[in-house]
Symmetry: C2
Amino acid sequence: MEIRVVKNILEANEVIASQNRKLFAEKGVYVANLMGSPGAGKTTLLEKTIEHIKGRMRIGVIEGDIATSRDAERIAAHAIHAVQINTGGACHLDGNMVRGGLEGFDLDQIDLLIVENVGNLVCPAEFMIGEHNKVMIISVTEGDDKPEKYPLMFQVSSVLLLNKIDLLPYLDFDMKRFQGEALKVNPKLKIMAISCKTGEGLDNWFRWIEERTSKKGS
Amino acid sequence: MEIRVVKNILEANEVIASQNRKLFAEKGVYVANLMGSPGAGKTTLLEKTIEHIKGRMRIGVIEGDIATSRDAERIAAHAIHAVQINTGGACHLDGNMVRGGLEGFDLDQIDLLIVENVGNLVCPAEFMIGEHNKVMIISVTEGDDKPEKYPLMFQVSSVLLLNKIDLLPYLDFDMKRFQGEALKVNPKLKIMAISCKTGEGLDNWFRWIEERTSKKGS
């Protein structure tokens, strides 16, 4: 019975996510859903991304957190409009929460909307929010054995950002194993090794998100 | 309505967790529920703990994972009986899953049962499994701002193991801020800074779990 309840919740969510998706298409907004564990580097990646592309594209950010508005404050410090959604305990954003968050924006004034999900490598992968692409970020400190242990997140994502590669010299992280497993779980996954600290590899990511936004957002 | 469904699920879980708790008391087994994000170091901590105390106490392990039996295999390599629970997508263990896992043990032959939960800093905190104590592990690479952003896990845990302190020289981690926030969220939290890699600080943890087991398990 619990399974049926969960199925109903997912189906109801899908309806609202479709409505969001339609709205984004009408308004010409490209939407990325950024997911990963606590501390994987989601907000730092967002800050770097904003600094790089904010002169060329109009960006909006939705910050999903269980509590506090810290991440939205970090984003707002970059002169970008950020709306905070506090889930009050819930482990993911869903279509309805994002729809509520959209009321804080004039979508005609935005090309790119990035939604930072709650820090969690599991639940956010189950809930569509109307996004064009799911982007996951994981840090090398989380270990090279994660793709097969947490497969859904890897399966539903278009891009995998492997962060904190500046720490590789101090870790036992087998890059070949990690990449092999990730591609076994999702052969279409685009893997980019990055360091938000040193900037290494970020150009690939900037290019990817700018290309997607140009196609969708105009 | 979704909220009422969730409340019913939590109440139903509480009933089963109480039954588990009663069984553990009858059998004189001390039970710890080990929780933390993917890659925080749960399985490595377990391996170190087993190696240290297996001569003096009889240990059993339940491994909760979404998929794969890798962690149970790692534990079994230490000549300890480990039962794998695959949640098949679910983001946490609950009382009923653990009850099923208990069928794999002769509880009369165990003093200490450690349950390694699914890697997730959010959902496992909501579900009691009948444990005596919840123990959380978080690594310094996850950032010093997590207690107030993910408060429930910090609130329900008795012990916080702050792992990977060997990496501190390479990170911007403010130990004072982290400890201050953690204690603000839960003033009773026992914080132990450790490195499973170098062994630093692990003696405190070994002492704590041995003391708890001696009191409950005999």
